[in-house]
Amino acid sequence: MKIKVLILSAVSSIALAASAAADSITVVSWGGAYTKSQVEAYHKPWASSTGNAVVSEDYSGGLAEVRAQVEAGSVTWDVVDVELSDAIVGCDEGLLEEIDSSMLPAAPDGTPATEDFMDGALNECAVGNIVWSTLYAYDKTKFDTAPTTMADFFDLEKFPGKRGMRKVAKNMLEMALMGDGVPSSEVYDVMNTPEGIDRAFAKLDTIKDSVVWWEAGAQPPQLLADGEVSMTITWNGRIFNAIASEGQPFGLVWDGQIYDLDLFVIPKGSPNKDAAMDFVKFATATKPLADQASWIPYGPVRASSIPLIGTFHSDASLQMIDHMPTTAEALKNGVQNDYMFWADNGEELNERFNAWLAK
């Protein structure tokens, strides 16, 4: 990967030397089908309209690399796709460039950007691009009656088999509570009490012996495909791709889903700051956001993009809008990830989660 990137940047720096006007920026994202959707919807159109080059690099989330680059004063990443909580923390810690949201293009009908974006998608240092969801998927061949609720995920008797879960406290605790009967709207209220946390861990205890823990987003579809687990917590885009492109017999359960935002940020001291700003401005306009949604079912954060969402790029019979985390059905018992809660309590809860895991 690194070598490939080096070659790409070498090639692009040669191109740069040839035409002094063109810039080359490095855009960093999560890899796989997600990065592909961004390359198709953002990188290519932007590159062809400006004559600039885009080098695409993968990472696995978190602020560590950004922090290392900024603190060492040698920033090589120009645009990074981060989770909301990282955008907030990075901004607070001064790791990110400020982005003036008033410069973002208005919707086609003239609605200013600040009103067009959903809540939380714009802040001082970041511009949102998608809504994605953490939910659970199951192997249709393993069960006669399909699971429908979060409680079913924790019911080993009715739905036997191993469970895949992400090896972090974040969202696993919320799901445990929803599986224990807490309505999605009250989850964070319960979590703010010590008893609520105990209750979440107690619920996790009931299935602990049957859990296979995963860390990278590519793992859950693989675990399901290999038959290692019969149900797994996953990200909706990854599992949709396994269903739509590979024809895997997987089902998704939206009940108890937790949705979150991904945002573009620019590390402080980016050498191509202007080009990076231009890229963010371009990518988060109404049309590219809608285009991106035909590659992966991560919903656009602009209201004006929703009506423009088309069909899956390789299968015109799949209406992408039906698979978004923001449909009425998906939101019925869903909740938005509370980044404030996790920014305040994440470390302590992860510490406890790890201690619980190791027990």
Binding site: A64, G90, C91, D92, E93, V212, D344, N345, E347
Partner: protein
């Protein structure tokens, strides 16, 4: 000695000093040439020495120092730090302290460093991160008296625990991270206490890391000793071929070998499929060989086996067959000859292989990360977790420091029990 006494006889009668042909005292000349040759020798090793110093020793020391030194608060809360360090931790915070806090929050908001301070304090008192960031956003509008206005902005400022946490973080040289690495909590009044049970994890991890490393060493010895013996006693042509087989895994990346073990050990993997075919397990109830300690042990033993075999082999290669023959000619049975004569002579190889495997195992990272699952992960995975996920580098440094001390301590014990010079890599 012979040279010196030879020189003695040519001593100059008048001043008792040996003079060389160009009139310089011999002693001086010898010292000079000795110094020159030493300088040349030093010049030859200097590049490597400098590389090790600047690329290895100094970075490690700098990083380890983070485990006891963190000046985030002191650096970014310049007004509050002197006031809070003289505060007695029990009385009500004064208006001056609140005013200094507001000044610092304003400055922190402007310089965008308030997030760092918030993260730092949040580590001592969970749930205070948003208190700092949200108050910093409001700080510009706050008016005197600052105590009332700040508490009105967020009532948590009235909580003495918040102030105690700030006092704790205002001390830059702190044992707090080391304490945390050992599942302890460092309090504002300078005492230590154990963390609540559900948050204790590191001691257990250190113990598990030691346990896994020891088992890997023993398993490696058990499996590697016969192989090394076979290699050492076969004709050179055959043993070279087998040695290549031993070294073959080194030609593939660690990641590939680890992934291969996933394919072997997983629920639907080769080993389980075979077990089902031979009736050792049922299709529904397969063995859990991976994502747990068993998986970590199996694959780490395999990956580290060559490091055990090679020192053993090279030591065994130097033991002539005549020793065992001599023992047998004196009436020792095969077993006695092995146990009393051959085995003791391989101890240097066992020592070298054991130490090598142990040191590699104790800091093993990729394999437990990929197949460790919930109870097969090791301390380095948590150091990595704090380096990359929680960004708590100070805690990571403290844990690394504890691990280093632990390894040195074990090394010292090894030296006392076995003797470090009783170790041979070949």
């Amino acid at each position: 000695m012979g040279l010196a006494s030879g020189m003695e006889s040519t001593k100059d009668n008048h001043n008792n000093v040996v003079i060389t042909s160009d009139g310089i005292p011999l002693k001086k000349k010898l010292a000079k040439s000795l110094f020159q040759s030493r300088l040349r020798a030093f010049g030859l090793v200097a590049p490597l020495l400098l590389l090790i110093l600047f690329a290895f020793v100094i970075p490690i020391l700098i990083f380890l120092s983070r485990g006891v030194y963190n000046n985030t608060f002191e650096r970014h809360m310049i007004n509050l730090t002197p006031l809070i360090s003289s505060w007695d931790s029990n009385s009500e915070p004064t208006e001056a302290m609140f005013e200094a806090l507001v000044l610092d929050l304003k400055a922190g908001k402007k310089s965008k460093k308030i997030g760092k301070v918030a993260t730092r304090v949040n580590r001592e008192l969970s749930g205070t991160r948003s208190l700092f960031t949200s108050s910093a956003r409001k700080a510009k509008k706050l008016k005197a008296p600052f105590k009332d206005s700040l508490i009105k902005a967020n009532k948590k400022w009235d909580n003495l625990e918040v102030w105690r946490a700030m006092k704790l973080t205002s001390i830059s040289v702190t044992p707090a991270f080391l304490a945390s690495a050992l599942d302890m909590k460092y309090n504002a009044d300078g005492t230590f206490e154990r963390k609540p049970e559900e948050r204790r994890i590191h001691l257990q991890l250190f113990l598990r890391t030691l346990e896994i490393s020891l088992i890997v060493v023993l398993a490696g010895l058990f499996l590697g000793y016969p192989i090394a013996y076979l290699l050492a006693s076969l004709p050179v042509r055959t043993s070279n071929l087998l040695l290549i087989l031993v070294l073959l895994p080194f030609w593939t990346s660690l990641l590939v070998r680890t992934t291969a073990w996933i394919a072997m050990l997983q629920g639907q993997g080769v080993l389980n499929d075979l077990s089902v075919v031979f009736g050792l397990a049922t299709d529904e109830d397969r063995f859990s060989l991976i994502y747990n300690k068993t998986g970590t042990l199996i694959s780490m033993t395999h990956i580290l086996l060559p490091f055990m075999i090679l020192p053993l082999y090279s030591v065994m290669k130097t033991i002539p067959p005549s020793y065992v023959r001599a023992a047998k000619s004196m009436g020792a049975t095969n077993w006695t000859a092995f146990w009393r004569i051959y085995f003791p002579q391989t101890i240097p190889g066992i020592g070298a292989g054991g130490i090598l495997v142990f040191i590699l195992a104790i800091s093993f990272y990729i394999t437990p990360a990929l197949i460790g699952g919930q109870d097969g992960t090791m301390i380095s995975n948590f150091i990595d977790f704090h380096m990359r996920k929680t960004l708590n580098w100070s805690l990571a440094a403290a844990m690394g420091g504890v691990l280093l001390v632990l390894v040195l301590f074990l090394y010292w014990i090894y030296d006392r029990v076995v003797g470090i010079d009783n170790m041979k890599l070949g």
